[in-house]
């Protein structure tokens, strides 16, 4: 099994006629993802290498039964595209676009929460890979094979790095989920960890965090209360310079949260072993699963 995407995924890409949208959509299809449509307003009726293009997402849902959307439009238009997917009834929206204004993200998140009919992953994320089933996004799939390790990460390239270390140690993956590092991610660590907990195929969960925010601290609380499967953590940024605080208000809000040390400590307090390098993560995984 896998989480979020699999053989039932029917993908529509918004921004499919842009060069990046086209490149990665076709790569996703080559991998085996069921790409059923693309959307570019005004280009309805055209096709991209055989993939039919529509003017609206609603039309892609209506005519092609799309249930998953990959957002590849430029940042000024990305929140609009996310909301269009939401209103069209798309169940899973995966937003790759980087650089969306924070207030746009906030509004999109709140609308999705209000209506309660879609899940958003990202924005500014590499997407999701369920090896041998489907790949939606920009994760380089050749490094990964099916297996029992679920990976969730705030960072794109770091995900590949950690995933690769696991692969070199012989592990495959149930799914790899990039949740993105933007101010308002649609899906958090706890959401994905909860899905992995309920996924029968996943036997070990790897989470890759980084400095800033308190998503890792919240994940630690969640793991302590709800997760029975082993979790291995990694936090990037132990030696990074402290980020700029947003005025006194930022300091008041964040308190002692946010440093790599605080995050590692929060996770370890709930029994999560935290590797200090990607290589160590793989070593810990081997110890736990006894390979």
């Amino acid at each position: 099994m896998s989480i979020l995407i699999d053989k039932n995924t029917r993908l529509v890409t918004t921004g499919i006629t842009g060069s990046e949208g086209r490149f990665h959509t076709l790569r996703n299809r080559d991998y085996g993802t069921n790409v059923v449509a693309g959307v570019t307003p005004g280009k309805g009726g055209q096709d991209v290498d055989g993939i039919p293009v529509f003017n609206t997402i609603a039309e892609a849902v209506d005519k092609q039964g799309a249930n998953t959307a990959m957002i590849f439009v430029p940042p000024p238009f990305a929140a609009d595209s996310i909301l269009e997917a939401e209103e069209a009834g798309i169940e899973l929206i995966i937003a790759i676009t980087e650089g969306i204004p924070a207030h746009d993200e906030l509004r999109a998140f709140q609308v999705i929460k209000k209506n309660g009919r879609s899940r958003l992953v990202g924005p500014n994320c590499p997407g999701i890979l369920s090896p041998d089933k489907a790949n939606v996004g920009i994760i380089p799939a050749t490094f990964f094979k099916p297996g029992n390790v679920g990976v969730v990460s705030r960072s794109g390239t770091l995900t590949y790095q950690v995933g690769n270390e696991l692969a070199l140690s012989g592990f495959g993956n149930s799914s790899i989920v990039g949740i993105g590092g933007d101010p308002v991610p649609g899906t958090d660590f706890i959401d994905v960890i909860g899905l992995f907990q309920d996924d029968p195929e996943t036997e070990l969960i790897v989470m890759c965090g980084e400095i800033g925010g308190d998503a890792e601290e919240k994940a630690a609380e969640f793991i302590g209360e709800h997760v029975t499967k082993p979790v291995v953590g990694y936090i990037a940024g132990f030696t990074a310079p402290p980020g700029k605080q947003m005025g006194h208000a930022g300091a008041i809000v964040s308190g002692s949260h946010g440093t790599a040390a605080a995050k590692a400590q929060a996770l370890e307090a709930k029994g999560v072993r935290v590797g200090r390098t990607p290589t160590q993560v793989a070593q810990i995984a081997m110890e736990i699963l006894g390979k």
Partner: protein, 383 residues
């Protein structure tokens, strides 16, 4: 993007938030003319984004023209905690009956704007937060519903403001929130928000952080600059679309993706090295971006070895290899490079590098191996 005090006040004024009238000046003559226009007494305030400028002599009151000249001469060009003062802000001196604190911050954890108000404004609001957290009233706002009049009253009553300013404070907070939304800020902070003896409100300071990603919608804001904060190397990187932070070490670092770069810093440090910078070439890095990035890294004369750590997703390793080759042909670097390429088109990239046979370039298969190698080379180069 953080605004200078005066830029924040000008932004406030556009949204009807009361601020003292004032003018910015970059020369002593401009400052004196501004002071004459505003009248005396007036304040001459150094425009740098760092706390404690008052204690360091960056804010002075001028009672007359001579004092205005004297203060402007003293403050313009002075160094405050490493920042040079290029601008001063001249404003009418304010009478103060009470000093409050007010802010709206984009609270990522709650996924909502957070409005805060305290009657204990002034220099030490963080100490108040530590020692007497109840003295700061908090309210998270539902972004779809917005800040309502009753929210303003609620905060004012919770903070215990003077009874006669409950409604004005509420209205002020609503303006502050609406400004935060309209200008797509990550922070608006007023400390102190003063009550004058005539019981009117004035924002005596202004701290505003804009969202860089939204500047395409705010042309006026996009043109604002903070001369004092412009490190030439960081500016060069920014102009080229790279995220660069200068550090103290001697190993230049380039990676794609913030998480991977941070991880690289950790691994290099773990191997006994000292990174000279954080440089994220970004997703989808093209050859030119790589060439630019090398130029930025090498512009730091302390760099004695460089590590490329690339794991390609949207970035293609062949593009990275070509960028590095172009950088070598343009810059002819004297320091050694360690290159680790994995991911999209990695074989092609390694092939290109092998064929180019650049001097002093070493390829490594793993991140750990690359880190160990670059530390070794930096030490050798230094010796």
């Amino acid at each position: 993007m953080d605004l200078l005090e005066y830029q924040g006040k000008q932004l406030f004024a556009r949204h009807g938030i009361p601020v003292p009238s004032g003018k910015p000046a970059r020369t002593v003559e401009e400052a004196v003319a501004a002071a004459d226009e505003i009248g005396y007494p007036c304040a001459v305030k150094a425009q740098v984004q760092i706390g404690g400028r008052g204690k360091l002599g960056g804010i002075k009151i001028a009672a007359n023209k001579d004092e205005a000249r004297e203060h402007a001469q003293a403050i313009l060009g002075m160094d405050i905690k490493g920042l040079t003062v290029y601008e001063v802000w001249i404003e009418g001196a304010s009478q103060i009956a009470s000093e409050y604190y007010a802010s709206v911050v984009f609270d990522r954890s709650a996924k909502a704007p957070l409005v805060m108000l305290s009657t204990k404004g002034g220099m030490d609001i963080e100490a108040v937060a530590d020692e007497d957290p109840d003295a700061i009233a908090h309210l998270h706002v539902d972004a779809l519903i917005g800040f309502q009049d009753f929210h303003g009253r609620q905060l004012a009553f919770d903070a215990g403001v003077d009874a006669d300013v409950v409604r004005p404070i509420g209205a002020f907070l609503k303006q502050l929130y609406n400004t935060f939304v309209a200008e797509e800020c990550l922070l608006v902070e007023v400390n102190p928000l003063i009550i004058t003896p005539e019981r009117t409100l004035t924002a005596l300071d202004a701290k505003v952080t804009l969202d860089n990603n939204s500047l395409f919608r705010h042309k006026d804001n996009a043109e604002l600059r903070d001369l004092s904060a412009e490190d030439p190397q960081e500016k060069m990187a920014h102009d080229r679309g790279l995220t660069y932070v200068k550090l103290d070490g001697n190993i230049g670092i380039l990676g794609n993706g913030a998480g991977l770069v941070m991880s690289t810093l950790d691994v290099v440090k773990g191997a006994g090295g000292e990174p000279a910078n954080f440089l994220d070439a970004g997703g989808g890095s093209k050859a030119e971006a790589i060439t630019s990035a090398v130029e930025v890294i090498l512009s730091d004369s302390k760099v004695e070895a460089v590590l490329f750590n690339i794991f390609g997703g949207i970035t293609r390793c062949d593009e990275v290899a070509n960028g590095l080759i172009e950088a070598f042909s343009q810059l002819n670097p004297s320091v050694p490079f360690v290159v680790r390429l994995d991911g999209t088109n990695d074989k092609e990239g390694r092939q290109i590098l092998a064929e180019a046979n650049l001097p002093n370039v070493y390829t490594e298969a793993t991140m750990d191996g690359a880190a160990a190698k670059v530390v070794e080379l930096a030490k050798a180069h230094h010796a």
